[in-house]
Amino acid sequence: MRFTVRRLLNMLFVLWAVSVLTFLIFMVMPGGGDEQAALRIAGRNANEAQVQTVKKEWGLDDPIYAQYADMMKKVFTGDLISYVNQVNVREEIVRGIPRTASLVIGAGIIWLFFGVVFGVLSAVYAGRFTDRALNVLALVGISLPVFWVGLVLLYYLTDRIALFPPGGYTELGDDPVDWAYHLILPWFALSILFIGFYSRVLRSNVLDISSEDYVRTARAKGLSERRILIRHTLRNALIPIVTLFGLDFGAALGGGAILTESVFGLQGVGQYAAESIGRLDLPPIMGVVLFGAFFIVLLNAIVDILYAFLDPRIRLQ
């Protein structure tokens, strides 16, 4: 229990630190700051008087810590407003969540499934052709830039051969088949990297464990290979995979899907983040960063807690 509480407190501390860091980056770094924010809100032809009015209205004249406190308050009350188009940040994020979630959850299922399947296959056929072939595929998979893969897919599979729609998103409620149809390419692009990575990790875990003493004992006892694999080896080999998956899934949900979303025009939270950063629009940036950090930290904590639960050695510390 105490461990959990400590973990949660740590989580809050980290989130707070992330918010301060974000604020500083955009307020204090040259190129950001109050003057620029005021100019951006006031518009192209603003004169000095208009800029001053904006500063007062938006509290851009206040000292830094006051502005920070004010912004944090707005985060919790859901009143964060963009500098550039006065849109409510929370609404935008809420609107983007189902899209990002569709992308990441779908891709997550795919990469976990294929990562495990390929990893097990590679381990079972270690040293043989299947293993070598899968290893090559995995290596290529982790060497591909995600956004480039997306572009290549777009070019070859939506234009040269019009097999898939060229980006965009259909609501799940409107038409589930169309929804999936639009997401197939993005799912594929996002998962390739992870499938490669996970299959290699799983392969090496399974092989390591196979040479452990308790497995050798089981073998000596005369248990069938398959039984050993499933009941002993896999269970233990999958634990680090689950950990990794928790972390990667959190990271993807938190912002790792930016590139895929942007290339395919899915307009999820990631794309919103990329656009806001490009415009140096601090309120949405703060909103999206905290959103992302929250998921990463939450999943980290869950994974740690689960780990402590599963591994008695840690619990007893």
Binding site: R40, N85, Q86, V117, G168
Partner: protein, 558 residues
């Protein structure tokens, strides 16, 4: 292979086949019906898309092409622009009566404009239009420090004071609700004023409309469409105005073919092109991406064309920032620019230009074109003569792909003629604000201007009048505050109340003078595309317009 292997293989095949089935999913055409051939069909609903939401859906505040394209359909001023025939305007659109019965009575000294409103005018909510509403509409825009405040509304007597103090109203506007008269008195004559009454800034909204940004719920208007269902940053609807004033029927304001227009946002122009091809979209407001233009030009001649807009794209040169204080250097830059190169880099979306005024604006004189024919050698020698070889130059730019490419060409060209140029990128949102701040001393960079109304002062006065150089919020990026001669020429011409042939000729001479001073490196007028879905009637309902770019009310289906 072992049993395990086979199982895994089966799973894999199953998974893959699921994917394949999903991929062969529906390819339905979602585009609406569209009836038989023959004459243009009025009515029905159309789908239109922007790449970004209009800056404001409030006529008193919007200052973008996107915003005006939507707003003029719902809001009307005392006067408005004629609709033309939908084919790219060869003459500038003329000013015709809008809410006013007739063109105004203008006094001889050009200081007084008298209008009478038509009888029985009402807003889209059914409430009557009062003459005093015009006054409150103008005051509303001044009170909010609207970006349009800098246009001629401060020339109205009391306008400048009201803008500063926000007290006392605009004394120069006197209205009589019973007689439906409006009398505007100017502090000094202004030729562009009539045009400035036709743009959305001066459109009439109810007197009780609050003086704040009404984008989320736009006020009722007098146009034949009304803006409804505003979903900020996502979409809005233009729906036929059920309370359209009978007295406006048959006038230029009465031009709404479709019953409703659904407007959505899609930030990717390439995806918009695909949607138009599939019929999910009927019209895209922005240009298709340059690489698809070639394809569209070749394959879809029955629903794609380009026309020149009244816009000027140019490189500004700041005379307060050496080496551009030297005339020879500026002239060298002009000789060095090859507009054909830029045009190609941008995929053929520019018409080559060398004059300050684009061809559609009165004052443009074709015979004065090309004062500086492309000549790299001459440019190099001019730089040598000016002693500016090796001078450091910062080229200001923003990361938007077309701008970026043009500026890379420009920087390379400056390097070719002997300067030492480097690009400095600023986010697009901050770009104009940053180069418009005097103390930043931007040496040279990119700029463009799309006309507000087809009058030469819209270009020359706003963008080049030395008296308009301020410290913050400039539009005059040459910062030529010391050119008294130019200031006098422009100020005199501004006061001419009418665009007579002589006045037009004198504006042309100002244009020529500006070119001789080489304040700008002009390179193009932007071509706008008209690209329709199949069901739209391309031959009779193109809706191209000299001021609004496209008049959506003129769109119709086959």
């Amino acid at each position: 292979m072992g049993k395990l292997g086979r199982r895994a293989l089966v799973l894999l095949v199953a998974a893959l086949s699921m994917l394949v089935f999903a991929a062969c999913g529906d390819d339905d055409d979602d585009g609406g019906g569209g009836g038989g051939g023959g004459a243009a069909t009025k009515g029905g609903e159309l789908n239109v898309a922007h790449t970004s939401y209009p800056d404001f859906l409030d006529p008193g505040l919007s200052y973008t092409v996107d915003g005006w394209e939507a707003l003029h359909l719902a809001y009307t001023g005392l006067v408005t622009f004629a609709n033309g025939n939908g084919d790219a305007g060869t003459e500038g659109a003329e000013v015709v009566p809008g809410l006013a019965e007739d063109m105004p009575e203008i006094s001889d000294d050009g200081l007084s404009y008298k209008f009478t409103l038509r009888d029985g005018l009402k807003y889209s909510d059914g409430k009557p239009v009062k003459a005093s509403d015009f006054k409150s509409s103008i005051e509303r825009l001044l009170e909010q420090d609207s970006q349009g405040a800098g246009l001629g509304y401060t020339t109205i007597k009391g306008g400048a004071d009201f803008l500063e103090t926000k007290k006392g109203g605009v004394s120069g506007i006197v209205t009589d609700n019973a007689k439906r008269t409006i009398e505007i008195t100017l502090a000094e004559p202004r030729g562009a004023f009539l045009y400035e009454l036709a743009i959305p800034f001066a459109s009439v909204v109810p007197g009780d409309t609050p003086a704040k940004n009404m984008t989320k719920s736009p006020p009722p208007g007098t146009g034949c469409y009304a803006i409804e269902d505003v979903n900020l940053n996502r979409s809005y609807e233009l729906v036929r105005n059920k309370n359209f004033s009978p007295s406006l029927k048959g006038t230029a304001v009465d031009q709404c073919n479709a019953d409703a227009i659904h407007v959505t946002i899609d930030p990717q122009t390439s995806s918009q092109v695909t949607k138009v091809l599939r019929g999910d979209l009927d019209f895209m407001v922005d240009n298709p991406p340059p690489d698809r233009v070639a394809e569209l030009k070749g394959k879809y001649t029955d629903r794609f064309e380009q026309f020149a807009t009244n816009s000027t794209f140019y490189f500004f040169m700041n005379v307060e920032a050496p080496p551009f204080d030297n005339l020879k250097v500026r002239q060298a830059v002009n000789y060095a620019i090859d507009v054909n190169a830029i045009n190609r880099a941008q995929g053929g979306v520019l018409s080559a230009a060398h004059t300050t005024l684009p061809p559609g604006v009165p004052g443009y004189d074709k015979s004065q074109d090309d004062l500086y024919p492309f000549d790299l050698e001459k440019a190099k020698s001019l730089i040598k003569e000016a002693g500016a070889e090796g001078e450091d130059v910062t080229v200001w730019s923003n990361p938007e792909p077309e701008t970026q490419r043009t500026m890379e060409y420009y920087a390379d060209t400056l390097n070719k003629i002997g300067l030492n140029a480097k690009i400095k990128n600023i986010p697009a949102e901050e770009y104009f604000v940053t180069i418009g701040t005097r103390k930043n001393k931007p040496q040279t960079g990119w700029a463009n201007w799309f006309q507000d109304y087809p009058h030469p002062s819209d270009f020359i006065d706003i963008l080049l009048n030395p008296d308009n150089v301020v410290d913050v919020g400039n539009n005059n990026y040459t910062y030529n505050a010391n050119d008294k001669k130019l200031a006098d020429m422009i100020n005199d011409l501004n006061k001419e109340p009418e665009l007579t042939d002589d006045v037009i000729k004198r504006w042309g001479e100002v244009d020529r003078y500006i070119q001789e001073q080489a304040y700008w490196g002009i390179y193009g007028n932007r071509k706008q595309s008209t690209f329709f879905s199949e069901r739209m009637d391309f031959d009779s309902c193109k809706g191209e317009h000299a001021v609004w770019t496209h008049h959506w009310g003129m769109f119709c289906r086959k």
